[in-house]
């Protein structure tokens, strides 16, 4: 009797322990999926954040949820353009790593996404690689790696990371990245069709607005103003809070000669979202319509925004170079762009460095970088304009005629300040 009872108790204990094992097993498999998709939906995102906060109040040792919460904060910052979520994200992700430092791929992926958001691309690349050593099947880690490699100027590595991500989890995040990768290689038609697939996969308003904006940009790059306008409007109709759409609409309005509307759009955008890039764009437009004082005011704001970015621990010498160019300070632009180039060999950096060198009078050097910007085959009117102007300065009139024509053929309205310059140069060359 006693022996039987012991046996029963033993069996029960075994079953219970087995049950616990199943719990552990289930939890372990969570590990793989816990990192939220790069383009997580905003509505569900808010709900997910609230749930994770609630849960962590009860279970403060749950490192998986800490990692998910940190990644969700990064997402929130991206969608709402609200950088105050970055310190929160870092706190949550570091907390996850404190609780569990070994084998915590989700937290590393989250930190990698955060590093990308802060323009710390080399750190992001290393974090993604560390995460992949732990979990070679993490699609989100490949996403972080792809973003970092693109920005660092390693297109081969970027493409293969995107391909892995597509293989592992074909969906909105993978399609959007693949589309950007194709765009870098000048394959704009394929980029557009992939972005359409991303749009089909998008459910939440913020994601749909994101895809519409990208489709609008692709149309804009090839000068299809009506198509671009339609995409931006569709995006605004879905989610008015997605601010980049305002910039797209302002650009199209200006191209169509509706300058007042364009200025109002930029004013609204920069009041709500004063980032250096948009402030410089706004200043260029103000300058093009002759409002020098207004332009200087916006450039001062851009300088302050860059100063704040630096004060918060960020480094953006590309932005600093673009600002210096807009302020007609080419020598400083060259120094800043060189600093950025020493960190990463991205096409945009090559383009800005080449143009800065040209402005500073070093046309021969500038030509090398300007060619480098288009080396992958990117079809970008801005790159082509810079290249053509440098070639013109070097007396390579044939090349200049070809590249300036190509720039204007792509998008006759590529810049309110420089499109007229390109037109004038071409007519001087006698080739229109």
């Amino acid at each position: 009797m006693v022996r039987r009872r012991i046996a029963v108790v033993g069996l029960a204990a075994l079953l219970l322990t087995g049950g616990g094992g199943v719990v552990g097993l289930h939890h372990g498999s969570d590990n793989v999926d816990a990192a939220p998709a790069a383009a997580a939906p905003v509505d569900r995102l808010a709900a997910g954040i609230a749930r994770a906060q609630q849960r962590l109040r009860v279970v403060p040792g749950d490192y998986v949820t800490w990692a998910a919460l940190g990644s969700a904060y990064v997402e929130r910052a991206r969608i709402s353009a609200d950088p105050s979520y970055y310190p929160k994200a870092e706190g949550a992700l570091r907390r996850s790593l404190t609780v569990r430092s070994d084998g915590n791929a989700a937290a590393l992926v989250g930190l990698g996404a955060l590093a990308n958001a802060r323009h710390e691309f080399a750190a992001a690349r290393d974090l993604a690689r560390r995460a992949l050593r732990i979990d070679p099947y993490s699609a989100t880690a490949y996403g972080v790696l792809a973003d970092a490699q693109t920005q660092l100027g390693d297109p081969g590595a970027a493409t293969s990371a995107v391909q892995r991500m597509l293989d592992l989890r074909p969906g909105l995040a993978a399609y959007a990245r693949a589309s950007y990768d194709l765009e870098q290689h000048g394959r704009l038609a394929e980029a557009e069709s992939l972005m359409r697939r991303a749009l089909e996969a998008a459910v939440d308003p913020a994601d749909i607005a994101f895809c519409r904006y990208q489709l609008g940009e692709l149309a804009w790059q090839t000068g299809r103003l009506d198509a671009a306008s339609a995409e931006y409007s569709a995006g605004r109709a879905t989610d008015r809070s997605y601010l980049p759409l305002l910039a797209g609409q302002a650009r199209v309005a200006d191209a169509l000669g509706r300058t007042g509307e364009a200025l109002a759009g930029y004013a609204e955008l920069t009041v709500r979202y004063p980032t250096p890039g948009y402030l410089i764009e706004y200043a260029e437009l103000l300058r093009a319509v002759g409002q020098r004082a207004g332009a200087d005011e916006q450039l001062a704001l851009a300088a302050a925004a860059l100063g704040l970015f630096a004060a918060n621990g960020g480094t953006d010498d590309l932005g600093a170079a673009q600002l210096a160019l807009a302020q007609d300070r080419p020598a400083y632009a060259v120094r800043a762009a060189r600093r950025e180039w020493s960190r990463r060999h991205f096409a945009d950096v090559a383009d800005v460095l080449g143009w800065a060198l040209h402005q500073a009078g070093s046309d021969a050097q500038g030509l090398l970088y300007a060619r480098r910007a288009s080396a992958l085959g990117a079809r970008n009117a801005g790159y082509l304009f810079h290249l053509g102007m440098i070639e013109l300065a070097l007396g390579k009139t044939g090349d200049a005629r070809r590249d300036l024509s190509a720039a204007l053929a792509l998008n006759r309205h590529f810049s309110p300040r420089y499109a007229p310059v390109a037109e004038a140069a071409l007519s001087q060359l006698g080739a229109r």
Binding site: V23, K88, V271, A304
Partner: protein, 489 residues
Amino acid sequence: MRRLWLGLAGLGIVGVVLALPAAPASAHPLGNFSVNQALALDLHPTRVRVAAVVDLAELPTLQERAAVAAESGVGYNARACDALAHDVAVRVNGHRLGWTVRPTGFEYRPGNAGLQTTRITCALEANTDLAVPSTVDVANGYRADRIGWRELTATGHGVHPVDPPIPARSVSDGLRTYPTDLLGSPLDQRSARFRVEPGDGIAAIGPATQANRGDPVSGWVAGADRVLERLVGGRLTPLVGLLAVVLALALGAGHAALPGHGKTVMAAYLAGRQGRPRDALVVGATVTLTHTGGVLVLGLLLTTAAGLAGEVVLGWLGIASGILVAAVGVAMLAAALRRRTPGHHHHNHDNHHGPSHDHHHGPSHDHHHSHDHSHDHHPHSAGRGRRLGLIGMGVAGGLVPSPSALVVLLGAIGLGQTAFGVLLVIAYGVGMAGTLTAAGLLLIRLRDRFSARPRRTLTRLARLAPASSAALVLCVGLGLASRAAIGLG
């Protein structure tokens, strides 16, 4: 039980906040281009006042520099307050108040990167009638499209808001220090609606701030809980593991010593049924198994199904536990009453037929009974029913999981140390069983002492015992169930 659960959850958060590295000081929770606002409503019987603070981060400050320069600080302050008053709508019983606006301050403060921030304050005031019960609506639409912290508070003077959805005091000290809790989203309180009644009364403080029970045992258990949670949260070495198991044993024992674990019921049951030491052991073993299983199942549920509130589940389990105890009480009562009524057919067989009764009844039935009769003190308590009753008592005692065991298990799962968590929960159950078994054995010992000395009154009492103890068990069961039900509601 509920209170202990809430208390533990609270302790968990405190632990998190303390364990975090200090966040870098940031003037603005929402970054350098936020526009942050706090509106503090003062409700009086005849008027409403609003003290408004607007805190512009560095970039908005810079963006408005030209406006400030154009109309001077005072003029800018006045215009900003007019714009704010235009967009802050307070309605009493649906009638929008018309504000008298008084700009009260404009100043620059040092911000990040050598830049400045702006602090604008305004006082809005309007006459109204809050001397009778009214509904107040607040809606803040000022610069609604800007990213920013938005806060609403309300206090009454001579009137009081009834269960207002907004607090009485600012959590940011009027936009001076923004909370940096990792588990809190920035405040974005744009509107509120509540009843206001005449008479003084400060807005009720939330139930979460209620303290733990003050008795020393609760305090000791809560302290040990914290130590155990910290052990689970730290790095696991063999020594720490051993220590944690010992602590879990002690905690389980201490937990069972707290009121509400059916010890009264068990005592009544053992007394009423003339239980033996073995019975106390059965109760203890059942408590361990039920408690361990219950915590594991609940842990699994809470881990997989997010959004399931632990408290609610505990409440339902409390009801189930009470009903189970009550059911055992009913069964005991029925048995006791049956025993009182004579003429039961077993008696007749035993007395009149003797050995020959085998032929009149089914062999198995009779064999079973004759077997029982020869070994048992009282002929009417069938062995199976007795054991079921004991197990019922044990299940009832272990059915409501100890919240601290649950927290430790969930914590261990979160740390990826599920097996360790299960081990600790088992240790918990064993500790509980130890206390309950010891209590049971003590009771049996005491009872035997008394019955060893034959006294007439006691003997008479003992004859009454089965019925009265059954009634007691029933009452306690109903009490437990209704207490849990009240807790749920």
